[in-house]
């Protein structure tokens, strides 16, 4: 049986999204900046997509900026807030220890330019509170950036409460909503969000396209210089097919958000219940406030890399953590942030579901994963030391 359980890495494109793109590759291929009819038709598509996406997150179309994806949106949001802060002599930025690297590495770069970065502790369950943000705020804080939901362990942050604190203090609030958009309801107005990043391929849209929402009045600095596309904030001819595909995918996801979330949550809970029976394992992330599709475990005494290869040979596509870090392969900063040792962090397994998964697939994983874990443990000298009492169990 084949099971794709790595939907946090990327998703299969929906037929709706594919079909929405095709006309803009075959027939309506004009440049939206052109005066002629072919160009104007493309410009209409751009406008419609902007309106559709704005409606999906409770924004105004003028607040939507198309980018190459979530990482670019994160970079631009942070750099923009930092530039504004610097002009007012404010150099303090609040974030969390388990943000995506698109955020953390951008902040690290700013640190070299004299910014002071404060990363909030996320505790064992991997959440921050509005109170933590409030007590970290200083007079010279120029940005709070806290992810909507964590990409590895699926914890969902109290974004509305954090937004309320920031709004009251007059500090711009950015959230990386790459894992949340299309999966849990977002309303930038009621949640007091000033800037938000999203990425199409996480909700069955195409890769290489994303959005930076920036509330009216939030100044943006352009990172890519050139033409006057995106109101001068993001140069480069617009990727119309991808933008149309993203809008179609998001609309579809929002239209079905409740039924999908209910279905996927049911599958997830079945999977979590099944795998939790494996001895010496731990479910990571907030057990209640978590993404509908996320199940993330650490299994003591095994290497995630071998686990993934063996699962792959059984047709199960899974991940040990963030797909973006597999190039660097260091123990996940998220695992370390929630207090796991290197040893435990190496035994990670992330299974992320979508509405395309079935109950049969979940049962197949519940049957196969414990076997593979047991097989690897039986071969592990570390495990032998633990069962013979030479070393202590951690989990």
């Amino acid at each position: 049986m084949n099971v794709y359980a790595d939907n946090a890495a990327t998703t299969r494109m929906s037929e709706t999204a594919v079909n929405a793109m095709l006309p803009y590759m075959r027939d309506i291929y004009g440049n939206p900046s052109s005066l002629h009819t072919a160009g104007q038709k493309a410009a209409e598509a751009l406008l419609t997509a902007r309106e559709d996406i704005a409606a999906c997150i409770g924004a105004d179309p003028k607040e939507i900026y198309f980018t190459s994806g979530g990482s670019e949106a994160d970079n631009q949001a942070i750099v923009s807030a930092a530039a504004k802060g610097r002009s007012k002599g404010k150099k303090h930025i609040i974030s969390t220890a388990f943000e995506h690297h698109a955020v953390l590495h951008t902040l690290k770069k700013l640190e070299k330019y004299g910014f002071e970065i404060e990363l909030l502790d996320v505790g064992r369950t991997g959440t921050v509170t509005a109170e933590q943000v409030e007590s970290a705020v200083r007079d010279d804080t120029c940005l709070v950036t806290v992810m909507y939901a964590n990409n590895e362990i699926g914890s969902v942050m109290p974004v509305a409460e954090i937004g309320a604190v920031c709004r009251e203090k007059g500090i711009p609030f950015h959230t990386d909503a790459v894992q949340a958009a299309g999966h849990i309801p977002i309303n930038v107005k009621s949640q007091n969000i000033d800037m938000l990043s999203l990425s199409a391929h996480k909700f069955h849209g195409p890769k290489g396209i994303g959005v930076l929402y920036a509330r009216k009045g939030i100044p943006l600095v352009s990172i890519i210089e050139g033409g006057a596309q995106e109101r001068g904030k993001r140069a480069g001819t617009e990727n119309i097919p991808a933008i149309a595909g993203m809008a179609a995918a998001l609309k579809e996801a929002i239209a079905n958000i409740e039924t999908n979330a209910a279905k996927v949550t049911g599958l997830r809970d079945r999977l979590i219940a099944g795998l939790s029976k494996i001895p010496h394992c731990v479910l990571n992330g907030d057990p209640v406030n978590r993404l509908p599709g996320n199940a993330h475990f650490c299994f003591e005494g095994i290497e995630g890399e071998s686990l993934l290869l063996l699962l792959d040979s059984k047709g199960i596509s899974a991940s040990s953590g963030s797909a973006c870090t597999s190039g660097s392969l260091d123990p996940s900063h998220v695992m370390l942030a929630i207090g796991h040792s290197h040893e435990i962090a190496h035994g990670s397994l992330r299974l992320t579901l979508s509405a395309e998964n079935t109950k049969e697939q979940i049962d197949y994983m519940i049957a196969e994963i414990p076997k593979v874990v047991e097989y690897l443990r039986n071969m592990s000298p570390l495990w032998r030391d633990k069962i013979t009492g030479k070393k202590q169990f951690i989990l």
Binding site: L309, L310, S326, G327, S328, L329, D330, P331, L376
Partner: protein
């Protein structure tokens, strides 16, 4: 089909090894071992173990038609190679970390992964040969047919089990032949330059690396002569190795050499060229390949460092884990921490760490 892991560094040797394994009919998995984070050890990303090398390995694996994975061994590499390297220097020794990497990583951890993935064999791009000894049923480690590239020295610690399960596809090739195969197959790295020296220390001295990695510098101390007379101050014992003449910062009538290092009283002992020579060498952590023990003295040719010429000696096993070599002629600058490796013709008899 016989399943094998090919250890692929992204260099030309292991790339050709992968190609030859596939051609020989093995069901291959290419594995790049990530040994350290470039940032941690101060190596530029363009160097060994970088993402670029990984990309090269992936490109070659695709060209060869085998799957490729990257496994993270950085915790093990730190514990078994870098930490040992530092401890050795801090004890006045001059270690060879490549031997530890082969022993604990390539033929240790990687074998464990091979077991997990159901692979019977491991192949690497080393220039050496493994042949069965039909008389004893043991496996023998032999020099490469191409003596200029022979790497049997760094492999002396291989056990019988490891030798049985290891394949060195390049054992009969010269470097030029390897490059020719790589060029014929159109591998991206066919002209890549040879990796040099210790992979995790680049663009800095070993001593600077140790200071940066551990966060503290070794204290300065005294240079003394062999009788204990103080000759001057040294900059910390990790800066010196036996046989060293340059960089001592001492002006005397005659050239002075480091003849030994005493970590206990933080002293570096200097002497004349003649003080560097010794006839007997003791080693521990021994490994013997054609037999388990040396029952009576054997005549061998031995070398006391990778690039040293082989010299006639008599080997006597003086303990369960100790061998004493007596060379026919005194050897210059025998250095504690390096490996002494013994040969019988082209066959590796075994070796150990010089004490």
């Amino acid at each position: 089909m016989k399943k094998a892991i090919v250890a692929m560094s992204g260099g030309v040797d292991s790339s050709v090894a992968a190609y030859l394994m596939k051609k020989a009919g093995y069901d291959c998995i290419g594995v790049t071992m990530k040994l350290f984070s470039s940032g941690d050890v101060g190596v530029r990303e363009s160097k060994c173990c970088s993402l670029e090398d990984t990309e090269d390995a992936k490109s070659v694996a695709k060209a060869v038609g085998i799957p490729h994975y990257v496994f993270n061994f950085s915790d093990k590499f730190k514990a078994e190679v870098i930490d040992r390297f530092i401890t050795a220097y801090e004890h006045g020794l001059t270690p060879n970390p490549c031997i530890d990497c082969n022993r604990y990583l390539k033929f240790g951890e990687l074998f464990r992964r091979a077991d997990e993935l159901g692979c019977e064999y491991i192949a690497t791009g080393h220039y050496a040969k493994i042949e069965p000894d039909n008389g004893t049923g043991r496996y023998l480690l032999k020099k490469s047919d191409n003596s200029a590239k022979d790497q049997s020295y760094v492999l002396y610690a291989m056990t019988q089990e490891q030798l049985r399960r290891t394949v060195f596809p390049l054992g009969k090739l010269s470097k030029a032949q390897t490059r020719e195969i790589a060029a014929d197959r159109g591998f991206v790295n066919s002209e890549k330059r040879e990796s040099q020296d210790i992979c995790f220390v680049q663009n800095e001295s070993y001593s600077d690396f140790i200071a940066r990695y551990t966060g503290h510098r070794r204290a300065p101390g005294n240079f003394t002569d062999i009788s204990g007379n103080i000759l001057g101050r040294h900059k910390g014992i990790t800066n010196y190795t036996v046989g060293q003449r340059k960089g001592l910062g001492i002006a005397m009538g005659t050239p002075k050499y480091v003849v030994s290092i005493n970590p206990d009283n933080n002293t570096v002992i200097l002497g004349e060229e003649k003080d560097l020579y010794s006839k007997t060498v003791k080693m521990k952590n021994i490994n013997l390949i054609p037999f388990d023990n040396i029952s009576e003295p054997v005549r061998v040719k031995a070398k006391v460092r990778y690039r040293a010429p082989e010299q006639w000696a008599t080997a006597v096993q003086t303990g369960g884990d100790e061998i004493e070599l007596t060379f026919d002629e005194p050897q210059r600058a025998v250095t504690k921490g390096q490996a002494a490796v013994m040969y019988d013709g082209d066959t590796v008899v075994g070796g150990g760490t010089i004490i």
